[in-house]
C-alpha cells in the first residue's frame, strides 16, 4: 500500500468504483457524461466551470483532468487562470461574508 493519500495513477482507475456497486457507479458515470455534453452552455464553458470548481473543492485529480481538457479544447491559459480566480473569489467571498455574522455577534455581545 502506497503511503500517499493522492496518487495520479488512481485517476486512471476512477471507473473501477463501479466494481463494488455497479448500479450506482453506472448511474454516476451516465449522469457525469450527460452533464458535460453541449447544452445551453458549450462544452468549453463547462470545462472552465469544472476547472474552477476543481480548485474550490481542492481535487488534484480534477485539476489535472480539466487542465488537460482545456489544453485539448484550445482554451487559452489566461482564460483558465481567470476561471480559477472566479472560484477563488467565491471561496474567499464565502469566508468573508461570514464576517457579517462575526460583526453581528460582536455587536450583540458588546455594550
Amino acid at each position: 500500500m502506497k503511503k500517499e493519500y493522492y496518487n495520479p495513477e488512481d485517476l486512471k482507475k476512477f471507473s473501477s468504483i463501479s466494481e463494488w456497486n455497479k448500479e450506482l457507479g453506472d448511474k454516476f458515470f451516465d449522469y457525469y457524461s450527460s452533464v458535460f455534453k453541449e447544452g445551453h452552455l458549450t462544452a468549453r464553458e463547462k470545462s472552465l466551470i469544472a476547472l474552477a470548481v476543481s480548485h474550490v473543492v481542492h481535487c488534484p485529480y480534477c485539476i489535472d483532468a480539466y487542465t488537460k481538457d482545456g489544453l485539448e479544447r484550445g482554451i487559452e491559459k489566461e482564460k483558465m487562470m481567470e476561471a480559477v480566480h472566479v472560484g477563488a473569489a467565491i471561496k474567499s467571498g464565502a469566508v468573508l461574508v461570514h464576517g457579517v455574522q462575526m460583526m453581528n455577534r460582536h455587536d450583540q455581545l458588546s455594550m
Binding site: K12, A43, R44, K68, L71, E72, R73, G74, E76
Partner: protein
C-alpha cells in the same frame, strides 16, 4: 530550443531501432497496455489492409529552415538528404502510368530542394494528377528573397497549400516552432491571401494544420477551426479554408520530448484510452503511400522515419507495382495509436 537535429546531436533517439524498442518495451511488454495489434484484435478488427491507392506522399528531403520541437522527421538546416532528379523522374513515371489522384509533397521544407519548382512543373505538364499538395511551413516564404515569389508560383500551378500553424497566438507557436516563427507565418499567410489563397471563388486551397503544443491530444477539429478563423480574421485579416487537427505521434523529436518531460507513459495511456475503432478503419495508410528521398516506399511518412519499409518485395518507386502493393501487410507498431485516437488523425486531419 534546440537548433540541431537529433541526428546532428548524435542523440540515441536518432536511431530508429532504439525508438522502436522504446515503443515495444516497458508498458507494452509488461502488459500494462495492449500493443496496437492486440488492440485491433480486442475490437475484432482485422489487421489494417490497403485499399486503392489515391495519394502518393513524396518526401523530397529532410532539410528545413526550422527545427521544431515536435518534428517527426527530425528535420533542420543540418539535414542534407535530398531526392535526386533521377528519383523524381521515377516518381513521375509512376504518375504517368497509374491513376494517382493526389501528389503530396513534403519534407523538411520541400521548397528548399533546388529541383522543387522543376518537379512541380513536370508533374503538372506530364501527368494527369488532379491535385498537388505542398506542405509548406510558411516561414520559408519569408526566409530569403528567392522564396518571396512562392505564392505566385503556387497559384500558377494550382498547388493546394497545407501549412502548420500550431496556434493562433504567438507564445504557443514560437515555443513549438522557434522564436519569431509566428510573426513570419502571419506575414506568409497574408502574402498567400493576396494572391487569392483561402479566398472564396479562387479555388486556391489554403488549409492549416493544428497539432497540440505539448503532451495532450487535439480537441474537436470543427471547434478549433472556428477559433482559428475568428482569431486570424479579427487580429490579422487572414482567411483560410480548413483547419486539420493532427495528433503528435510518439516518434523522433516528439518522443524525445515525451521522455525528457516524463510524459511518455501518460501520453501512451491517453492514446490507447482514446482508441477509436471507426478511425482504425480509415487510417491514411489505407489509401496513401510514402516515398522517401531515396525512392523507397513506406506505408506512411511516420513509418518512413522509423525506417519500416513496405512489406513487399518491390519496395522502391522504380519497381512500383500497384496490384502487388495493394496486397501488402501494413507495418504496425505502437506509434499507430496516434492515428486512431479520438476522431483519428491523418495528414488531412480527423478521419472519424
Amino acid at each position: 530550443m534546440a537548433t540541431k537535429s537529433l541526428k546532428a546531436q548524435q542523440s540515441e533517439l536518432s536511431n530508429t531501432q532504439r525508438q522502436l524498442e522504446i515503443l515495444s518495451n516497458g508498458i507494452f511488454k509488461n502488459g500494462q497496455l495492449p500493443t496496437f495489434k492486440q488492440k485491433l484484435k480486442e475490437h475484432a478488427l482485422p489487421s489494417i489492409q490497403p485499399k486503392k491507392l489515391s495519394i502518393l506522399q513524396i518526401n523530397i528531403g529532410y532539410m528545413c529552415n526550422q527545427v521544431c520541437a515536435h518534428c517527426h522527421v527530425d528535420a533542420g538546416p543540418d539535414r542534407k538528404e535530398m531526392m535526386s532528379r533521377t528519383t523524381m523522374e521515377e516518381c513521375i513515371a509512376v504518375m504517368e502510368t497509374n491513376e494517382i489522384e493526389t501528389i503530396d509533397l513534403t519534407g523538411g521544407a520541400p521548397e528548399m530542394h533546388p529541383e522543387f519548382r522543376w518537379f512541380v512543373e513536370q508533374i503538372r505538364e506530364r501527368t494527369s494528377v488532379n491535385e498537388i499538395i505542398v506542405r509548406s511551413n510558411l516561414t520559408i516564404i519569408m526566409a530569403n528573397k528567392k522564396y518571396h515569389d512562392l505564392p505566385e508560383f503556387f497559384a500558377q500551378h494550382k498547388v493546394h497549400i497545407i501549412s502548420s500553424l500550431p496556434f493562433y497566438k504567438r507564445d504557443k507557436t514560437d515555443r513549438q516552432r522557434g522564436s519569431g516563427v509566428f510573426d513570419q507565418s502571419i506575414k506568409a499567410l497574408q502574402k498567400l491571401n493576396r494572391v487569392g489563397y483561402g479566398k472564396k471563388g479562387t479555388q486556391l486551397q489554403l488549409d492549416l494544420v493544428y497539432n497540440p503544443s505539448g503532451a495532450f491530444l487535439p480537441g474537436d477539429q470543427m471547434a478549433l477551426e472556428n477559433d482559428f478563423k475568428k482569431a486570424l480574421r479579427e487580429d490579422f485579416g487572414i482567411e483560410f479554408n480548413h483547419l486539420f487537427t493532427i495528433t503528435n505521434l510518439p516518434i523522433s523529436r516528439f518522443l524525445d520530448y515525451l521522455i525528457a518531460s516524463e510524459n511518455f507513459e501518460e501520453y501512451m495511456h491517453a492514446l490507447v484510452d482514446a482508441f477509436n475503432p471507426a478511425a482504425a478503419k480509415n487510417v491514411m495508410c489505407t489509401n496513401t503511400l510514402s516515398v522517401s528521398w531515396e525512392g523507397y516506399l513506406f506505408d506512411c511518412d511516420f513509418n518512413q522515419m522509423l525506417e519500416l519499409k513496405v512489406a513487399s518485395k518491390h519496395s522502391h518507386i522504380r519497381d512500383f507495382n500497384a496490384i502487388e502493393l495493394e496486397q501488402r501487410k501494413i507495418q504496425l507498431s505502437q506509434h499507430c495509436y496516434g492515428c486512431t485516437a479520438g476522431a483519428g488523425s491523418s495528414c488531412q486531419g480527423s478521419i472519424a
